[in-house]
């Protein structure tokens, strides 16, 4: 399959390892990955903070860049949620019938990574090896917008060597919420504290999720506390094999 990669603006800049892992993983599974360089951002930050006008051109760009893709892989459930929840309405607001049609046609081809693997490619065992104690945090968008249910967990359960521990309060928001973490820093920190307590109680080495946004926030807190737990995106766990086994 020809898979176009929408890496997302923040993964591109802050978490390139996640992108590299996605590429490694998909190629290992025998697929061809494309990376259109024109891509920048899906517009979520602007849209959710109330700058809907500024988000519209970003939506347009995205549609233009990916409109001919066979399938678009996005290693970020919040960005996919942005597109699924809002792009159609945003296109409608422009009144541009061509754009509306393009969005309608493109949306079904946009898949978050675990959706792509399990639902589209039909694989739950990606041949991964990751000998660590891991707990999974279900990000809000993955749970309530994408309804991923247990797709990520199914993938994780098939990772050889993994010691998967259930996270208490798995579906409680970590408190990132995009600009919420800045605009309401104190409440964000309070929510983070509760999430960290749950993560620490699992005695896991690693906390994983399908969104680096949550992980950046959770890890920021863990590291500040010197808790000795790190965060790793699902893609990086799935890309790990026996051959390159490292911490």
């Amino acid at each position: 399959m020809k898979i176009s990669l929408f890496i997302t603006c923040y993964n591109d800049t802050l978490f390139p390892e996640t992108g590299k892992s996605v590429v490694r993983l998909l190629e290992r599974l025998g697929h061809q990955v494309y990376f259109p360089f024109e891509q920048t951002c899906c517009g979520q930050m602007h849209y959710n903070t109330g700058y809907q006008t500024e988000a519209r051109p970003l939506m347009r760009r995205f549609v233009e860049i990916f409109k001919d893709a066979e399938v678009v892989c996005v290693p970020s459930s919040s960005c996919v949620a942005m597109m699924r929840d809002h792009y159609a309405k945003m296109a409608e607001e422009t009144g541009d019938a061509g754009l509306m049609k393009a969005v309608d046609g493109l949306l079904p081809r946009i898949l978050e990574l675990s959706e792509l693997l399990v639902n589209k490619l039909g694989v739950e065992d990606v041949g991964a090896y990751y000998p660590h104690r891991v707990t999974y945090h279900a990000s809000c968008h993955s749970l309530r917008s994408l309804h991923l249910d247990d797709l990520p967990l199914r993938l994780l359960r098939n990772v050889r060597g993994i010691d998967l521990v259930e996270l208490d309060g798995i579906d409680q928001c970590c408190g990132f919420g995009g600009t919420f973490a800045i605009k309401n820093g104190d409440v964000s920190a309070a929510m983070l504290a509760e999430k960290l307590r749950c993560v620490e109680n699992t005695r896991a080495e690693v906390c994983t999720a399908v969104d680096n946004s949550c992980l950046m926030h959770i890890f920021g807190g863990l590291h500040r506390q010197r808790a000795g737990i790190k965060t790793v995106h699902l893609a990086e766990i799935l890309a790990s094999t026996e051959a390159e086994s490292s911490s």
Binding site: D12, T13, L14, F35, Q52, L143, R144, F180, E194, G221
Partner: protein
């Protein structure tokens, strides 16, 4: 027009209020405990209701439909209620509602009234208006009594005194009821309340209530409660005044079959709450012989006019969104500065004011979506929050604020590959003053909120796209 929503117009921003409340460990524990209990109970009774989603869908559709024909349904209600001996008044705003109610009380020459829990009366500031005119309003709902006697403010729609524990309640009762001794078991406290109130119920001539549902078809009014004080206030006085927002109307009696299944399960985690009272106009055999309904606008027609946000008016005040909200869980209701707190409060309060006040509330959310999941009438609260943030930005914010400027810069950054990659390079270079021992532990200005509690990894040397470029080059060269 003077819209009032309790004291919300003067309340501090959510950020400010939250910061102070986060240090109140007793409050946070009380809120956590209370919301854990209710959400567990709710989950249980919802799980056993096999047609829960179908009920939600029907309720949402009924509410959407009602709003489209709201004028017809209100007029139908008025006609039916009047034909049954009730009298219907229409109040454009809080002042007018208070004026009407005050006028009625003074006409009957009363100096005190008994009240059933009604958030609508808190919204219009009824108690203050009555007290200012020498009329004493006695709250009869246990929690509202605790709030009133403790000179406090409610912090939750359904369990207003959730932020108080038994010791605190005991102190309040002893002081206010003049008791020398009082146990601190919940039974002791409710017994004290029972004795204190029974006297009032039998003596006071005027009762004031809210309404959960106004039934257009029959002119009936339905009040949903647990304690029985509602039944007291609705049955024993000579005069009953019911104040209700215009969005409380439902088309027909049949629709009660939907809402009476959704409300108790959502609000208190019960299959059915202990008492529902349903009456139509005046009943000759018993009950108040004078019945007045005050229909309240107070900003609701403004919300109705906003097609995207009018779903806010579907709300049946169950409080489920508060109970499940991870933000509310950390701060309790007072942080919202409004009697309508939590997710619904964040969208309802500022909209009643047409966004002139409470502009910080739409940002008091991480958009996690838990509220939407539990809302019995399917209000897409996250969607409305985003919509209201847009209104704040477009209508209320200066284009020169640091945030607005930052956002404009970022949108230019994202507008082309070149500007994006340039910004990535700039970010990598510009971060160095802030990096110490391989970590960013402090950022200035707005971004300081982040580093206040979190470390930040510096931008990696090589962005993903540069790695891809190199790989492509490598492949091409090979």
């Amino acid at each position: 027009m003077s819209i009032r929503v309790g004291d919300a117009a003067e309340a501090p921003s959510f950020q400010k209020a939250a910061f102070a409340l986060i240090d109140d460990t007793q409050l946070r524990e009380n809120v956590r405990h209370a919301t854990d209990v209710i959400t567990r109970k709710r989950a249980q009774v919802v799980a056993e209701q096999h047609d829960w989603q179908e009920l939600r869908s029907a309720a949402s559709a009924i509410k959407a439909h009602t709003l489209r024909y709201l004028d017809q349904y209100l007029l139908q209600f008025e006609a039916a209620c009047t034909a049954a001996g009730g009298q219907v008044h229409w109040a454009a705003d809080a002042d007018e509602a208070n004026c009407i109610i005050l006028g009625l009380i003074q006409q009957y020459g009363a100096k005190e009234i008994i009240k059933v829990k009604t958030m609508t009366s808190d919204e219009i500031g009824l108690n203050k208006a009555l007290e200012a005119n020498g009329i004493c309003p006695h709250e009869t709902d246990l929690a509202d009594m605790i709030i009133q006697l403790g000179r406090d403010k409610p912090s939750h729609i359904v369990v207003p005194a959730l932020h108080k524990n038994r010791q605190q309640v005991r102190e309040i009762f002893m002081r206010a009821m003049g008791l020398k001794e009082l146990g601190d078991r919940p039974e002791d406290l409710t017994n004290a309340a029972r004795r204190y109130l029974r006297d009032k119920f039998l003596k006071v001539k005027i009762g004031i209530s809210g309404a959960n549902f106004l039934i257009a078809e029959t002119g009936g009014v339905c009040v949903v409660e647990s304690e029985g004080n509602g039944r007291m206030c609705l049955t024993l006085p000579d005069v009953l005044i019911t104040v209700a927002g215009i969005e409380k109307v439902i088309p027909s009696f049949r629709d009660l079959g939907v809402f009476l299944q959704l409300l108790p399960r959502s609000a208190t985690g019960e299959r059915m709450n202990p008492y529902n009272s349903l009456w139509t106009g005046v009943h000759k055999a018993e009950g108040p012989q004078q019945f007045h309904v005050v229909l309240l606008d107070n900003g609701r027609t403004g919300i109705l006019a906003d097609q995207e946000a009018r779903q806010t008016l579907y709300c049946i005040r169950c409080g489920a969104c508060l109970n499940t909200c991870p933000v509310y869980r950390q701060t309790g209701g007072h942080a919202y500065g409004s009697i309508y707190a939590g997710p619904i409060g964040a969208i309802l309060t500022p909209q009643l004011f047409d966004m002139q006040h409470a502009q910080s509330l739409p940002y008091a959310s991480s958009l996690c979506g838990a509220c939407y999941e539990v809302c019995p009438v399917k209000i897409n609260i996250p969607e409305v929050l985003i919509h209201l943030r847009g209104r704040v930005v477009r209508e209320r914010q200066s284009g020169a604020s640091p945030e607005a400027i930052g956002m404009k810069i970022m949108s230019r950054v994202f507008s082309s590959r070149r500007s994006f990659e340039a910004a990535q390079r700039l970010g990598w270079i510009g971060q160095w003053p802030f990096v110490s021992e391989g970590w960013i532990k402090y950022l200035p200005g707005m971004l300081g909120s982040w580093t206040a509690v979190r470390d930040l990894r510096p931008l990696p040397r090589q962005t993903f796209r540069n790695w891809w470029r190199e790989r492509e080059k490598g492949n091409n060269d090979a």
